[in-house]
Amino acid sequence: MTAEAAGPLLEVEGVSVRFGALLALSGVSLNVQRGEILAIIGPNGAGKTTLLNVISGFYHPYEGRILFEGRDRTRLSPPDVAELGVARTFQNVALFKGMSVLDNLMTGRLLKMGGHFLLDAIWWGPARRQELANRAFVERVIDFLEIQSIRKTPAGKLPYGLQKRVELGRALAAEPKLLLLDEPMAGMNVEEKEDMSRFILDVNGEFGTTIALIEHDMGVVMDISDRVAVLDYGRKIADGPPEHVRKDAAVLDAYLGAGHD
């Protein structure tokens, strides 16, 4: 293993983001190690989603750097970030509603597919072979997530819990090195949360995918994450193993305290 490959997968170094007068993130530094599940927690408005948006290239920080596999990736656009091997889900589910579940997942594999559009126009030959090969992978994801029966259903017609699962599937279809999940269990019942926790742990365990997720349910966070980072008012106030963070005075004060009122 080279020294570079041994370093953290993602390094966020002193990143600050400003919207007009509002400082959404100020000097946040955070590493994501290869193979781990990192949970990012914090009260509403702490800047968690903003952090994900910076990592995925929707916003660019006015200060600080982002390194992916040791290289500076601060100013990339979202498609560039996708090409590096980062996939994500969104807080309010951003599926392609008019497309079937299968097509949503196949869209997740777009970067694995290529060739000139004229080949697609002819279809027979390379385009068809490529389609079939990628379809085979997507079928594995479908089996993994146990969504075989809704393959052909338009994504917009599914219940919310299943939409979240399909969105996870779309991200998995890209075979990402880093998977960002923005509240994967928001609005789910206990059973659905258990399913989702299992999927996340399996993805991490079986494929070794590195995962960074935002979650509010502290029980889930303590159960599944290797490490927890806490944001409050755009700053990182704690970072460590779940059991440490749980006892951290600053966290109890800022986060759990704020959560109670």
Binding site: F19, T49, N53, F58, F90
Partner: protein, 312 residues
């Protein structure tokens, strides 16, 4: 080659300097036309600001209003009564549009609503002409179409009255938006639907109000245009020029609609008179659009539009 360069960069300016009175006439004509564009664009901005609907039918609403007014007057209704009735028709139309078209499509993609207003556009065109007839009509609201000469400049009384009316209307709308409770609510709803609801005005009422106001603005535009060049189908086509006006001015800006309209009106008149002959004339049809396209490259949010910030 030098001849072309001369024709583009020197000749027109020599002509302008050579006959300043004529230049002023051209400018005034441009301002008069531009104010018409402003009026149509204004109706458009009102609806876009308050409901996010890109109302393609604004031009046909102008035609429809003018057709209704002329139709009533042709049947012997006095001007004042006809005007009031036309206003009632436009408010009724706004009510129907909200009920039949907008409400079932609420929360739909913007492009779907846009296409629905295209459908509305053609329905209204067919309906208006079926009820009131398709032939060109003269609209006479009592303003004489006379010209007189001030300091060597020929001034058309009708155009000046129209310009004055437009200016007054714009002032009224500005006050309405800045000073009244409803006006402020309308501005709020553009930014945030919930904020408007917290003021206590239901969304459908707001939609009804903006479509009604847009309908009333359409009447004024229809009268002025109709008086100038007769009420006919081409009115709705000319009104499409509100679209480049909006690109220049910014889709959400009331002052932008006004300034944009003036720029387009004056710009295309100057272009037509001084540069048009170089390329065989009739460039008025597309000049505004091409200016808008060039503008898009450099300032996509328009002169007064808010910067486009996306939320993820």
């Amino acid at each position: 080659m030098t001849e072309i360069l001369y024709g583009v960069f020197v000749g027109p300016f020599r002509d302008m300097a050579g006959s300043p009175a004529f230049l002023v006439e051209v400018l005034l004509g441009g301002v008069a036309t531009g104010l018409m564009y402003s009026l149509v664009a204004l109706g458009f901005v009102l609806i876009f600001k308050a409901s996010g609907v890109f109302n393609f039918a604004q031009g046909v609403m102008v035609l429809f209003a003018a057709l209704t007014l002329v139709g009533l007057m042709e049947r012997g209704v006095p001007v004042a009564v006809a005007l009031v009735m036309t206003m009632a028709v436009m408010v009724g139309l706004a009510f129907l549009i909200e009920r039949v078209v907008l409400r079932p499509l609420v929360n739909q993609e913007a492009i779907i609503l846009f296409m629905a207003t295209i459908g509305l556009n053609f329905f209204l065109e067919g309906f208006g002409e079926m009820v009131w007839g398709a032939n060109v009509k003269k609209l006479d609201v009592g303003i004489p179409d006379r010209s007189f000469i001030v300091a060597g400049v020929q001034i058309n009384q009708l155009e000046m009255s129209a310009a004055a009316t437009a200016a007054v209307l714009v002032a009224i709308l500005a006050v309405f938006f800045q000073r009244t409770r409803i006006g402020r609510a309308l501005r709020a709803v553009a930014d945030d639907h919930e904020a408007a609801l917290s003021i206590g005005i239901p969304l459908k009422t707001i939609w009804l109000i903006v479509w009604s106001v847009a309908g009333l603005v359409a009447i004024v535009a229809g009268i002025m245009w109709g008086a100038k060049s007769g009420v006919q189908f081409s009115l709705s086509l000319v009104a499409l020029k509100a679209l480049p006006v909006l690109i220049l001015g910014g889709f959400t800006s009331v002052p932008g609609a006004i300034v944009g309209g003036l720029i387009v009106g004056v710009g295309e008149k100057l272009g037509e008179v001084y540069w048009g002959p170089l390329v065989g004339g009739a460039i008025e049809n597309w000049f505004a659009y091409v200016i808008a396209l060039v503008f898009l490259l450099f300032r996509p949010q328009g002169l007064f539009g808010e910067r486009i910030i996306e939320r993820v």
